[in-house]
């Protein structure tokens, strides 16, 4: 179907140049014809369409532009061609049709500048969000508005129960890796039995809760941001406000509450599964029987290790839920923004969790829970 359009230059009786077009002047042929037509620099007095075949708006545009640029008249146009060419009168102009794209040397400082100048405003918005969260929590605590139990239970299920499978599997495998890798090093030194201490303490104090937090940030933090962001785009949030339902109370508080309640449980569960994983691999490769491994755990893991993990967990849950909900609420404009905000929510949540974990590590050692 991709036939060609062609042209030839002739001289008429009065010695003026005539450009005669032939073939179909269509969008399918314009790609080859256009550069040649634009390369013409001699004066053209007339454009002859008598030999031209079918024409569409792209062909008409080429003819009209050529006539405009060379001050030529158009001859031999059939009814269709004449109609199309007249429809294009006044078209054109050369305003920008794409958003301006500047060179890198300008774009990078610009982006940095925009980021820095937007920083105070975003801190204010975050404070605003946290303040609204606090106020809503207080109205619920004082009994001025009901806690939406249905939403809370639903979120408990989504954040907690449905995460059991993946968190459990991940923890079991991490437990295997710690015990197996630890054993290799410790056996070299002749302290193979310390593998139990290593696995038990690290699971309860750090890894159980940290891995869980990362998994929940990826699973639930992202879904909070995407869901609330989409609701913002479809004006569901606005609809809620007009009905008199506070999005804080209906959307944010159930999610924050669910994450705060579920992270300690998931973290504890994760630590247990990691220890089972460690015990499992020890049975196979270290000749420590399964139940002996578990009994040793009771002796070597101090109770405060369990508390260290459990105390941190609600804070992590709070960070994850707030990051997700806050970023979701910030969505405006288009669907790209939803993706962007979801990414930010997850990255911020994981980063903040790890920073906070470092503070906790120092803190608990200082207070003697080392």
């Amino acid at each position: 179907m991709r036939d060609r359009a062609d042209f030839r230059l002739e001289t008429d009786a009065e010695g003026r140049t005539v450009l005669a077009l032939s073939g179909n002047l269509l969008v399918s042929t314009a790609g080859f014809l256009d550069p040649q037509l634009r390369a013409l620099d001699q004066p053209i007095a007339r454009i002859d369409l008598a030999d031209a075949g079918e024409i569409d708006t792209v062909g008409a545009w080429l003819v009209w532009r050529l006539a405009r640029d060379h001050g030529a008249t158009i001859a031999g146009a059939d009814e269709m061609a004449a109609r199309l060419i007249s429809a294009l009168q006044g078209a054109g102009g050369d305003g920008d049709i794409a958003p301006a794209r500047h060179p890198v040397l300008r774009r990078v400082p610009e982006a940095v500048g925009a980021y820095v100048s937007a920083l105070p405003a975003s801190w204010v918005r975050l404070l605003d969000f946290l303040g609204a969260l606090l106020i809503s929590s207080w109205t619920i605590i004082r009994g001025r508005s009901p806690l939406r139990m249905h939403a809370v239970v639903r979120q408990l299920e989504l954040v907690g129960v449905s995460a059991l499978g993946i968190v459990g599997l991940m923890s079991f495998l991490v437990g295997i890796v710690i015990a197996q890798q630890g054993a290799v090093q410790l056996q070299d030194l002749g302290f193979g039995e310390l593998t139990v201490n290593l696995t038990g303490r690290i699971s309860f104090r750090e890894l159980g809760i940290l891995m869980t937090a990362i998994m929940v940030a990826g699973r639930s933090g992202s879904s909070f941001a995407a869901q609330i962001g989409t609701m913002k785009l479809t004006e569901e949030i606005d609809a809620m406000r007009t009905i008199g339902v506070s999005p804080m109370e209906a959307l944010v508080i159930p999610r924050v509450l669910a994450a705060v309640l579920m992270l300690p449980l998931l973290g504890f569960y994760s630590a247990i599964l990691a220890i089972i994983g460690g015990a499992f691999i020890s049975t196979i490769t270290l000749d420590i029987p399964f139940h002996a491994f578990l009994l040793r755990i009771q002796d070597v893991v101090p109770m405060h290790d369990v508390w260290v993990g459990l105390v941190k967990a609600p804070f992590f849950g709070f960070i994850i839920a707030v990051a997700g909900c806050y970023q979701g609420m910030q969505v405006q404009g288009n669907s790209e923004e939803v993706g962007l905000r979801t990414t930010i929510a997850v990255v911020q949540a994981i980063f903040a969790v790890i920073v906070l974990d470092a503070f906790f590590a120092v803190f608990f050692t200082e207070v003697g829970w080392g």
């Binding site: 179907m1 036939d3 073939g23 179909n24 269509l26 969008v27 399918s28 314009a30 790609g31 080859f32 256009d34 550069p35 634009r38 075949g53 079918e54 569409d56 708006t57 792209v58 545009w61 532009r65 269709m80 109609r83 199309l84 429809a87 294009l88 006044g90 078209a91 054109g92 102009g93 050369d94 305003g95 920008d96 049709i97 794409a98 958003p99 404009g333 288009n334 669907s335 790209e336």
Partner: protein, 277 residues
């Protein structure tokens, strides 16, 4: 010279189409022929399968049974070579109900997408020029070309969608409820634009609508979908003679009569103006 454009009489032919979702039958032995160069209005109650019919014709919905021929090429089989199927897609334009503009691209970039896809040999300068005049042809101000869909009003978004549908100079134009959600002035302007473009570009238009004014103003013929098939295709004045409860209720209901009366008033005023002049 090869004929680039379809020259037969019926660019869209649907024969014995059946569609069903989960045992719920939408179309049963539906047949329809669209004449070249006409604006065919398609009406039917909500859920009668107007959009499903359009989706079947443009190949988004695989029908359970039946033959569909678009621009002389069979669509419903799997037998046609893939290359032809793709080529045929460059010869129709579709305006979806919500506009379905790509939200991360500007209006002009939206128009450029099909051009880039089908005709990569067209260089940037010409492609920008084409995008710019298509935006103008769709009745948008030039500055709208650089805007993102989220910055446009509903009516402008429809026009931008139309500009993208017209990007490849199609022979067939599918419009899914183009005036839904527009104010009466915007709707009338969009109707006029459709008619004008159909005249200028020689389009065949398949138009799904609920808008009685649109039917009276610009449709050459109207196809009525009821009882899971097309029960009639004709001009409105002929349709009114058919004794079918849905047709009678639709065109002779309060809204149908109002649209008809408005049309008669407008005609009378035109005549008066003619006499005065």
């Amino acid at each position: 010279m090869t004929e680039a454009h379809y020259t037969g009489n019926f660019p869209i032919v649907v024969e014995g189409l059946c569609n069903a979702f989960d045992g719920h039958v939408i179309h049963q032995d539906l047949s329809l022929k669209v004449r070249r160069g006409e604006i065919l209005g398609v009406v039917g109650g909500s859920g009668s399968g107007k959009s499903v019919l359009m989706r079947s014709i443009i190949g988004l919905q695989h029908p359970a049974a039946g033959e569909i021929e678009v621009l002389g090429q069979s669509m419903s089989g799997g037998g046609a070579p893939a290359r032809d199927e793709i080529d045929i897609r460059s010869r129709w334009g579709v305006l979806f109900q919500g506009g379905a503009l790509f939200s991360t691209l500007t209006v002009a970039e939206n128009v450029e997408v099909p051009l880039r896809e089908f005709y990569p040999e067209i260089d940037d300068t010409l492609r920008h020029e084409i995008a710019r005049y298509k935006v103008m042809l769709s009745g948008l101000p030039p500055e709208a070309a650089a805007k993102f869909p989220s910055e446009l009003s509903g009516g402008m978004r429809k026009r931008a969608g139309l500009a993208r549908a017209l990007a490849l100079d199609p022979e067939l134009l599918f419009l899914d409820e183009p005036t839904a959600g527009l104010d009466p002035i915007g709707a009338a302007a969009f109707d006029a634009l459709t008619r004008e473009l159909q005249d200028t570009l020689g389009l065949t238009v398949f138009l799904i609508t609920h808008d009685l004014d649109t039917l009276y103003e610009i449709c050459d013929r109207v196809a009525v979908i009821a009882d899971k098939r097309v029960i009639a295709v004709d001009t409105i004045s002929e349709l009114l003679k058919i004794d079918h409860p849905w047709i009678q209720e639709y065109f002779n209901g309060p809204r149908g009569r109002a649209a008809d009366a408005a049309r008669h008033r407008a005609k009378a005023m035109d005549k008066q103006a003619d006499r005065g002049a």
